[in-house]
């Protein structure tokens, strides 16, 4: 079985994003970029499945600018076997990403497509579900545990009410949540080895997918700012203030 792992290059999660003064977007010039943290978890899970003998090959794919090669090299250094870059400078929406991934999945026939549940830049939380719909395959979203069992996979999901387990027929789409695993760091020898692993470059046109956006962003602004309040000297003052505010 192959596992396909889509990875996105996004602003590093430790960086506080700055909104551009002209309202056109978030300033990404000279900002540290990294692999979307949920995608790192997906890469890790795929590699663990391979290490456990449940999968033979892990293929990383990224849809994005030429620089997304770095993100793919990170996936390769972690242990993915080969990579595909679908190069475009356009901001590709989840629906178009899902269409490109569908075309790749039809060619590669993976048993599982393992995606992050959301990208921390647009926070859409859509791509995995959309891919599952387009392929007519089941989806195990927000996974905190993945167990392959013959021609099925059991996925434990982090839901609002606790932990839900579903059983899906393979091939299936899985999206990762935070508790699934702790991704490894790539070792230096593996980073060196990753440079020699195959990386194919394609374009959205190769898959006949129109990436024109359906949503037009007309403005990007700052969220309302909260005024910092006061530091109280002791618990008595805190309790008194809460009582006078009528909240305790």
């Amino acid at each position: 079985m192959k596992i396909l792992v889509p990875v996105k290059r996004v602003i590093d999660y430790n960086v506080k994003p700055r909104v551009k003064a002209d309202g056109s977007g978030v300033d990404l010039a000279n900002v540290k970029m990294s692999m979307n943290p949920f995608d790192e978890i997906a890469v890790e899970e795929a590699i663990r499945l391979k290490e456990a003998g449940a999968a033979e090959e892990v293929i990383a794919v990224s849809i994005g600018p030429a620089k997304a090669q770095e993100t793919l090299r990170t996936a390769l250094a972690m242990g993915a076997d080969r990579a595909i870059l679908v190069e475009t400078d356009a901001e590709v929406e989840p629906l178009a990403v899902a269409k490109i991934l569908k075309a790749i999945a039809e060619a590669e026939e993976p048993g599982i497509v393992m995606l992050g549940k959301q990208a921390i830049d647009d926070d859409s939380n859509q791509t995995g579900q959309m891919l599952a719909a387009l392929m007519g395959r089941p989806q195990g979203t927000f996974a905190s545990k993945v167990a392959i069992d013959g021609d099925h996979v059991s996925v434990t999901r982090e839901v609002d009410g606790g932990l839900e387990t579903v059983k899906l027929a393979l091939p299936a789409i899985v999206t990762t949540d935070l508790r699934l695993n702790e991704p490894r760091y790539a070792s230096l020898p593996n980073i060196m080895k990753a440079k020699k692993k195959p990386l194919d470059t394609k374009t959205p046109d190769d898959f006949g997918v129109d990436v024109a956006p359906r949503l037009k962003t007309t403005h990007v602004g700052e969220p309302p700012v909260r005024q910092a309040g006061e530091i109280v000297p002791d618990v008595d003052t805190l309790v008194a203030k809460l009582k006078s505010l009528g909240v305790a």
């Binding site: 926070d123 859409s124 606790g162 909260r226």
Partner: protein
């Protein structure tokens, strides 16, 4: 423009998240219908929501567990029905809504608008991006709208006062792709996190699950509060996953949010900074949580919290 809202059910009853989604749907300007995939009782309950014109009740057992593989084709079918279809589908941005709605969107070849904060026009919405550090205004060019609704951003429609008709609907049924195995739920008598008026949240500083319970629970009991946590506290196993507040956990906006031993990472702030009154207790005066707190106490939580509990 007629809108269809997916009802969020909890233990067979209509959950409050549904009421916020109904308000958002009403702001689109047309009639609002609600789809209840579950028991007849829940459909009757939904019919009483103020402002709802019609309730569609899908009673087929294939929909009872809200498996997206089964529910999405039902919704897409209702949306696309000739003459009587819908222009918009809205689901609350709960884990159920987030699971089902994008599957509906893709079946309809629509780009979903996730987690809307406001309705700005018939096809224009605001939504948070970058963990709420920026707010985007987006306009859809699709023929139909598929939307998830941030429930804290919309008032709840009145649960009583409406008198919608209830119509039975059916769809393709079981897609045969997936099955529900079980739900491991932590039962508690506390208010539910996303609808609680008061929340006490604990962070990594709480050390372990026993200490978390010893320190946080009595304060939450005193305040009649729900209990939340930072990701670090959940990862470390102090509390279950469904306690996590933040960008990738639950979004809350109670009257009072007490953050205990939480540093205030942007991912945590994204989930609670719309709370009315924020209290932070942290021993580090430079912790970022103090930048959003109305009332900050720089103290060792192991002394301050028991003292606070005693004095309330």
């Amino acid at each position: 423009m007629t809108a269809l809202v997916l009802a969020e059910l909890s233990d067979g009853a209509v959950a409050p998240a549904t009421l916020s989604a109904v308000t958002a749907a009403a702001q689109l300007g047309g009639p609002v219908h609600v789809l209840v995939a579950g028991a007849q009782g829940a459909a009757d309950e939904a019919a009483k929501i103020a402002g709802v014109e019609k309730v569609l009740h899908a009673g087929d057992a294939a929909y009872a567990d809200m498996l997206a593989e089964n529910v999405a084709p039902l919704v897409a079918g209702l949306m696309a029905k000739d003459g009587v279809g819908y222009d918009a589908f809205l689901a609350p941005a709960t884990t159920t809504g987030k699971n089902v709605a994008p599957r509906v969107a893709a079946l309809l070849d629509v780009m979903q608008v996730s987690d809307i904060l406001s309705v700005e026009g018939p096809k224009s919405f605001t939504r948070p991006i970058y963990a709420g550090n920026a707010i985007a205004t987006v306009e859809s060019s699709d023929a139909k709208l598929v939307i998830t609704v941030r429930t804290t951003a919309f008032d709840k429609a009145a649960a009583e006062g409406g008198s919608a008709s209830v119509e039975a609907v059916s769809g393709p049924g079981d897609a045969g792709l997936s099955s529900f195995v079980g739900l491991e739920a932590v039962k508690s008598d506390r208010p539910e996190l996303t609808s609680a008026g008061t929340i006490v949240s604990g962070g990594r500083a709480l050390k372990d699950s026993e200490t978390f319970a010893e320190v946080i629970t009595p304060l939450a009991d005193k305040l009649g509060a729900a209990i939340g946590a930072s990701r670090a506290a959940v990862d470390a196993g102090y509390v279950p996953n469904d306690y996590q507040v933040g960008q990738t956990g639950k979004i809350v906006a109670p009257e009072l949010y007490v953050a205990v031993g939480i540093s205030g990472a942007i991912q945590h702030l994204a989930g609670m900074k719309d709370s009315k009154v924020i209290v932070a207790i942290n021993k580090d005066p430079d912790a970022p949580i103090f930048q959003v707190a109305d009332l900050g106490l720089v103290a060792d939580l192991f002394e301050a919290v028991p003292e606070m509990t005693a004095k309330l």
